[in-house]
Every structure is written in structure tokens, then in C-alpha cells.
Symmetry: C2
Subunit: 389 residues, 2 copies
């Protein structure tokens, strides 16, 4: 009785304004997925996202695959509905288009922000997607901390994963520094990258060594992710000043010093990896060659390679000389991954040609599709088992 | 050039599908707020939330104030628009109704989940709302950790705030255990309660002692918040089994043991506070009287008081005897707060009558409105400065 009395007014007053009991998305045993929306006055309702076939879009820069749309139809109860064919095991994101207005699914509270867009997500199991699920395995700790950056002149936020058992142990642990792309921040690998789940699951399966993962903010003009800084709740933008002009690379030793001072780490090259996607791959490339004694494992995921030629920074000077020194010191792993349709594919071909010419050893991983988080999650789950072995 | 080439396809391929450059909400210097939506095919667009005047809703349980609606109108560019009068400084949540379909604002990436509803949020400054903003002050650390619960039989997730300076210090710190209400979880006080910002700001202002804040999950049948457990991405519900049947209170010493084993805490009654809202206030009441040597500071925010009479648990036996023992041991602060229109107001009147009859000292804080997060944020910001002084 009390429970009923509590529950009703809570929902009446705030929690459940207008909630209707619709399940969407509903994932069926064969991984087909039903989407539902109650929109009685709508003329058309469509589904868009990476769970529907792409369409080609012509642009001045070329032809790109962009998310297509499929139509929902009204069922006998007046609810708009669509069921996909069985989907491969993955993490998918989607939105509805109601009379062309893009909206989130009001029956799905799970969403991920990518720059200024928030889309709903779901995971289908039975394969790669299982790595992205929270399973009943030992869980690491995720901390959002702030460190002082004397170089940049303010406190900055960083996301740190410590593996299961870290707090109970007295051992020192290796560290993976994991860098985001343009438009990302210290939340990107957690939210879009499912880093915590990938690490927890790979460690539980015995496929990865327990390691600390440090997810920095690579936008040197930014204290923290949008909404987490003194700038308040502003609308995020894709490009930020000074992200690929050398300051990130110059200030990076501060992060290492902070981590080594605050965690039980292996404080040598053999205990450090650095990897990143796109701009973060670019940062990983240039940081690892700038500090050739710091990282034994380097991962370039869909990486940008060369700086804009107008940029003046000592970080980018003497590219080949620094690379020669880095490889002279024999990194344990130099891992390059890219998808066949990635717009940075050719830049990576040219970079690999350079490495081949010089006889620098690297490991190459190529797969389908392009510059998308699906690939970066795959690259992380392929890369992590190779570290600190 | 490279930057442009990177930026375009990134947005083309994934990040900025269909983003239009509309600012919504736009907070003006006088705290009036403009909302905007591009919905060319819509017939009506309305704003609802706690930033518009309430309306009365009749129900079988009585008349409740529920969020009202106001109409947006199309401006000269065809964008739907509405500007509020100046709003008091607060955190507000809102949604749009497009032809009666409730949607999130596609131009505002800031949202908070409350049970199964996700609404957009914004903060107006110049008063109470400033406590809820991230300001350029020293920031504490927020960790999501898992601890083993032998009583409940599985690992459970807990959110822990450590104050600025904790990591650099060797001091022991006092601990506030902060409990959520029905429908909440270990994310509720962080997301809806702005605990981190309130603590960072009050500590920076010298109004609160640096303290650790432990936000537990009070649903004993739940490993973790929705989406953070092995149950996956299910639709959250308001009521969960066994939340007010004694198991939370019985298992609570495990949490204290975990915190005291993993943090530099003051391990005595004078170094511990417990507070909660609604069901969490109920838990705080019953936990603090069950373990009368454990907490010197107790906060009941809009608390439920008495258990459902059908519930059998030794925790709830001998209510008055346990209360007598608790007050015999002279807690430093017994703080009761409630809003005038709260549906639990009368239950709190009766509880205070009991305390008055017995001569048990307590501090009472009453304000306007009812069972809403606005009040719980206010109560937290009033309560925290009273602790550990």
C-alpha cells in the first residue's frame, strides 16, 4: 500500500510523465530487431542508422555511404512498427524520422553522444557485440579525475580505467594511453568505444593482460568534455582550435607523469602503449616518435598521418629522422589498422610504403567499411590482446 | 586542408548526420530562455517541463501539479520558437511535444534519465543554479567501482566521490553515504542530483568540509544501474522487488566495510553521515537506527517513514525502542526536510510529532513544492555544510 502510494505520486509528479508501455527496440532470438513508436498524428515514420542499409550520397568531396532509411508501418494497435532482418552481432545506433524530423526513440533510454548528435543504441549478441556488453565478470573501476597541466595552464579532465583486482593488488600495471578523434573528448572511448566492457571481457577471457587505460582529452583548448567544464552546456562542435598543431604532443609527458605519480604503473617503455583513432592515431604516431623511449606498443586506428603543411611545430619537424630513431629502438609492436573505404586509406598506404622502404616492421590489419566507430571498437578489441605479452 | 578533409568525411560518414545549426535552448542575460525547433511539417509544437507553469491534474489519488505546456510559434525563418519569462536560477528539464509526440530537443545534447524518461536539461545562473554548474574550482574524482556483496551474492556497482586534494593528502576523510529514491540507482545523485558540482562548489567556497560521498544502489536485486549490468539495455521500471523489505538495511554494513577498507576514512561515528531522498530517506532512517553507533549525521529528504505493514523484517521491528537507543547516543545532527506539497508531508508531520513527544532533538527544513529533484538538490546543498563541523 505504501509502495503504491509512493510509486504513484512519484510518477505523477515527475518521473514518468506520459510514459507508455511500448518496448523498442525489441531484440528477437534471431537478432532481428523490432522498433516501435506511438505517433498517432504522424504521416511517415522512418528508421535511420547503421542497422539499415546505407545509401550513396554525392558530395563535392566524392561519393559517401550514408545511413539509409526504412519505413515503419502502423500495426493493428496504431503503433508504428518495423522489424529488421537478423543483424550481425554488433552495437548499433539509430534514430527515428517522424515526418522528416529526426528524433530519439522515447522508449529507449540508452543513447550515445557523438559530437552534437545523440542517437539511441542497442547491442545484438552472439558475436562481436558480446564484447561490448556488460557481462557478469569481474569489473574494473572507471574514474574521472582532473590533473593540472602546467603547459596548458589549467586543470584538465581524464578518464582512467583500472582493471579488476588493481585495488587489492600491490603489483605495478602496464598502461594503455587511448586517444580519441576529432570531435571526441575524454568520454568518447568510454561511450562510443565501449572500452570498459571490451577490457573487462577480454581480461576475464584471459585474452588481455590486466592493464590501466588512460583516456585523455586531446583538444588542448578544452578543460573537459562538453558539459563537464566551466563552459557549461554549450553545443559541441566538430573542430576545435589547436588540436593538430603540436600542443597535444608537447603536453603529453605531463599526463604520463600524472599517471605514474598516482597509480602503480610499470614506468618503462615496455609497460606503455599508445593508440588512437583518426586524429588520435595522428597524435599517437607523433607522440610515440617524439618520445621514442616511452612507448613499446603503438596503435594507429584509421589514423591521419601527416600534419597540415601550414602548421609550424617542432613536433612535426624531421619526420623521417624521428621515425628512424623510433624504429632503431625497436618498438615491440607498431600496429596499423584501417578500413577499405576509409577516406584516410590512401594516406595509410603511403605511410606503409615509407615503412616498407625503410624496412621498419609493423603489423597491418585491414577490414571492410570506413571511418566509423564500429571499426574502432573492432581495432581496440584486436589490439589489446597484443599488448604487454 | 587536411583538417577540412578530415572534418568533412567524419561528419559525412557518421558524426553529424543531418545536424542543422540551431541553438536551443539559448539562455539570455536576464535568464529568459529561447527554445527552437526545426519541424517544417509539424502542426503544433509545445514545450513542457519544469520551466513552464504547472497545471492541475485530477487523479484517483488526489489532485497533483503536473508540468504544463506552452506553444512554440514559427518565426520568420520557419523555425518554431518560444521564449520564457526570466527564470529563477535553477536546473530545469524539458521536452518538446510535436503534434503531441514527446521528443528530446535535437539541438541539446544534455539530457538526464529519470527512471524510463530522458529529458533535456539546462541551468540558469545567478543563484542556486550556480551550485549545479561546473565552475573553474578544484574538482574531486568520481569513480564507478564494484564491490562484492556476500549477503546479496554478487558484485554491485557504487559511485564514489573523493574531494579535491584527497589523492595528494595523507589525511583520513569523513564519509557521506547518499541514497537514492525508488526508481533511482547509483547514478541518480550524480545525474539528477548534481552531487559532484554541489560538493566541488561548496568545498571551494569553504562552506563544506572535504568529504567522501558514497552513492550506493539501494535496489538489492540490482547489480547496477540500467545499462550498466549484465541485464543489458532493458527498459527501466519504477518499482523493483525487495527495495523496502529490509535487505538494503541488512546488507549496508558491507558497503561501509568496503569503503573503510579502500579509502582513507574516519572510521568512527563522528566521521560518518547518511542521507537519502524518499525511499533513500526511509533507508537512512532505518539504517541509522539499526546501527546506532555508525552515523553521527542523518538526513531525511522527503523521506518515507514507516514500512509497509505486510513486510516482515527484523530491521523494522521495535521501531520506537531502536529510535530511543539511537537518540540516547546523541547523534550530532538529525535533519528532516520536506516540501509543503509533498505526498509524504503528513507522514513526516507524524514522525516529527513522535520525535517531539519523546524529546528527541532534530533540525527541520521546510520549503515549497513537493517530491521533486529540485528540492533534493536544495536539501543536499543545505545539508552538506552542516556535516563534520
Amino acid at each position: 500500500m505504501l509502495a503504491v502510494l509512493i510509486a504513484f505520486p512519484l510518477s505523477g509528479q515527475q518521473a514518468l510523465w506520459g510514459g507508455e508501455d511500448i518496448i523498442s527496440p525489441e531484440i528477437h532470438p534471431d537478432n532481428s530487431v523490432t522498433f516501435r513508436l506511438n505517433a498517432p498524428k504522424a504521416t511517415t515514420v522512418q528508421l535511420t542508422g547503421d542497422c539499415v542499409p546505407t545509401r550513396k550520397q554525392e558530395t563535392p568531396f566524392g561519393t559517401f555511404d550514408v545511413p539509409g532509411t526504412v519505413n515503419l508501418v502502423k500495426n493493428e494497435k496504431g503503433i508504428w512498427e518495423y522489424t529488421t532482418p537478423p543483424l550481425e552481432s554488433e552495437l548499433y545506433s539509430y534514430s527515428f524520422l517522424v515526418d522528416d524530423l529526426k528524433i530519439n526513440d522515447p522508449n529507449n533510454v540508452y543513447m550515445i553522444r557523438d559530437v552534437a548528435s545523440v542517437t539511441n543504441v542497442f547491442i545484438t549478441g552472439g558475436g562481436q557485440g558480446d564484447l561490448y556488453k556488460v557481462n557478469r565478470v569481474p569489473h574494473g573501476t572507471v574514474a574521472r579525475r582532473w590533473y593540472n597541466s602546467p603547459t596548458l595552464g589549467y586543470d584538465r579532465r581524464v578518464t582512467i580505467y583500472t582493471p579488476p583486482g588493481y585495488e587489492e593488488s600491490t603489483d605495478n600495471y602496464p598502461v594503455l594511453y587511448l586517444l580519441h578523434g576529432m570531435g571526441g573528448d575524454e568520454e568518447a572511448w568510454i561511450a562510443l568505444g565501449r572500452t570498459v566492457q571490451i577490457l573487462d571481457n577480454l581480461i576475464a577471457q584471459g585474452k588481455a593482460k590486466p592493464m590501466i587505460v588512460v583516456m585523455t582529452n586531446g583538444n588542448v583548448d578544452q578543460e573537459a568534455a562538453p558539459g563537464e567544464s566551466s563552459l557549461g552546456f554549450y553545443k559541441p562542435t566538430m573542430q576545435l582550435p589547436r588540436t593538430m598543431q603540436g600542443s597535444m604532443e608537447e603536453s603529453f609527458p605531463e599526463v604520463i607523469t600524472f599517471i605514474d605519480s598516482n597509480y602503480r604503473t610499470i614506468r618503462t617503455k615496455s609497460g606503455r602503449a599508445i593508440a588512437g583513432l583518426s586524429m588520435g592515431g595522428f597524435h599517437s604516431l607523433h607522440i610515440s616518435k617524439q618520445y621514442p623511449d616511452s612507448f613499446d606498443y603503438i596503435g594507429l586506428f584509421s589514423a591521419a598521418i601527416r600534419p597540415d603543411e601550414r602548421v609550424q611545430s617542432p613536433i612535426y619537424d624531421n619526420f623521417e629522422e624521428k621515425l628512424a630513431l623510433q624504429f632503431e629502438k625497436k618498438p615491440a609492436l607498431y600496429w596499423i589498422a584501417i578500413g577499405k573505404t576509409d577516406f584516410l586509406y590512401q594516406a595509410n598506404v603511403e605511410f606503409r610504403q615509407l615503412l616498407d622502404e625503410k624496412g621498419y616492421p609493423y603489423t597491418y590489419y585491414e577490414n571492410e567499411e570506413g571511418h566509423i566507430w564500429k571499426n574502432w571498437r573492432i581495432y581496440l578489441s584486436e589490439f589489446v590482446p597484443l599488448l604487454f605479452q
